[in-house]
């Protein structure tokens, strides 16, 4: 816990910019899709006039940007210590390499999740409240709390999955830049699937997101074992 507190204290400085970026982006996407929906009269299903569709698209939009931004931050706070000559400095610390890697990953994950949760909840609740006062969607009400909670969890899980997998690729390929490239590729593949899933099958998308986090955790454990055996050339 002592090590976690130390690492978390170093990562604290990314909480505010990350939280503000999350909140700002989510609000921007929510209003963008809601306003587009009001003017969209050609679509027979009028998809964007429904609160859930607007919420799903905005959440996935935010997830896409944050997955890449998060990977950039992971490059600075996590991957950086495990690539090139920087490995020597990290490996010379008198602590189990595996334990240190897990602690850094946990602290980074906690920081990212915390900032995103606050940013998403505040912006979603703000939009829901203003949507009741000045209606932009057809089915505005205060009963969308459950949708907000589910979409927030899905968004955090998907973002973390992309960020962690990209970071692990960066460490494996010995380059933070390659990790960022990987995150862009992941986002391109994941965004459409996630948007469709979140709009149509909320519970399924929640289960998939949680399953992805479990897989990311397993990969993280294997990565820790690899770091423990690796060398700093």
């Amino acid at each position: 816990m002592e090590y976690f507190d130390f690492e978390f204290s170093h990562m604290k400085k990314m909480l505010l910019p990350l939280g503000l970026t999350t909140g700002g982006l989510q609000l921007l996407f929510l209003y963008f899709f809601a306003i587009v929906g009001r003017f969209d009269t050609e679509d027979g299903s009028s998809m964007l006039t429904h609160y859930n569709a607007v919420l799903a698209l905005a959440t996935i939009g935010t997830m896409c940007v944050l997955a890449i931004y998060g990977t950039v931050l992971a490059g600075r706070y996590l991957v950086h210590d495990y690539v090139g000559m920087n490995k020597s400095k990290t490996y010379l610390l008198p602590i189990s390499r595996k334990a240190l890697f897990y602690t850094k990953t946990k602290a980074f994950t906690a920081s990212l999740s915390l900032a995103m949760a606050v940013g998403l909840l505040v912006s979603n609740l703000t939009f829901m409240t203003t949507d009741v006062i000045v209606p932009l969607t057809k089915d505005q009400s205060f009963t969308h709390i459950l949708n907000i909670i589910v979409s927030t969890i899905v968004c955090i899980c998907l973002t973390l999955t992309v960020v962690l997998f990209s970071s692990f690729i960066g460490i494996k390929l010995d380059s933070a830049v390659k990790g960022i490239t990987a995150s862009i590729i992941f986002v391109v593949f994941l965004s459409n699937l996630a948007a469709i899933a979140l709009m149509s099958y909320e519970l399924v998308s929640l289960l998939i997101a949680v399953a992805l986090i479990v897989i990311a955790t397993m990969v993280c454990i294997s990565m820790g074992n690899e770091i423990d055996k690796s060398e700093a050339l």
């Binding site: 950086h80 210590d81 090139g84 400095k89 010379l92 008198p94």
Partner: protein, 241 residues
Amino acid sequence: MTRLKINHVTKSIGNRNILRIGNLRFGNNGIYGLVGPNGAGKTTLLKCICGLLVTNTGDISIDNLVLSRDTRTDFLKKIGSVFAQSDSLFNLSIKELLDEHYFFFGLTAPQKWSPILENVGLNVSENQMIGNLSLGMRQRLLLAVAISHKPEILILDEPFNGLDPDGVVLTKNLIKQHSQDKIVIITSHSFADLNDIITDAVVIADGQTSCIKSITKINEEFSDGLMGFYHSFINCTVSLN
């Protein structure tokens, strides 16, 4: 008394044999100069001692503690080191680097870092970014960090790189002070810098080491001192590959 032992260590990277050390014992406190041409395996050997590289065969021990993955943490607590500077330092402030070092080595951080910095002749703010320091200033800072936990073995890879003449003198004095009750292993290409500081020397060439000789014996045996010892050994080594 701390004793660093290197027993029958070999190291290869890919298909290339890098090290084949028979037996080295750093028994007495003092300053050991590890000299050799470029690519001889100096840094590889030092990295093996620090556990940064894993040896293929043989073992490295400090007293009765044999280096392995399980003992690496305890081993590293006994070692202070300065290797080539990595850019991971550049985004840190001096305070952040010292905070991290003191935290992981379980030391109590002082109220102010300035006395530690002044000890190595650094009159800079602790909040200054390391990336903004000159090469020589960074080298002094790394030395301050390396000796802060009073390690039993101090490993310095090219510590005089980038230092101005005052910096060289100061670093030598610090190394001398530290070596009074500890082992210091130092590499440098400048024999002039090593000659007036080391107590013993070992030559490494093509991954093989000579025996450890005291500087007094070297001066007795070779008319040109350390240079003679160096040349006599590298002329008789055969490549490992």
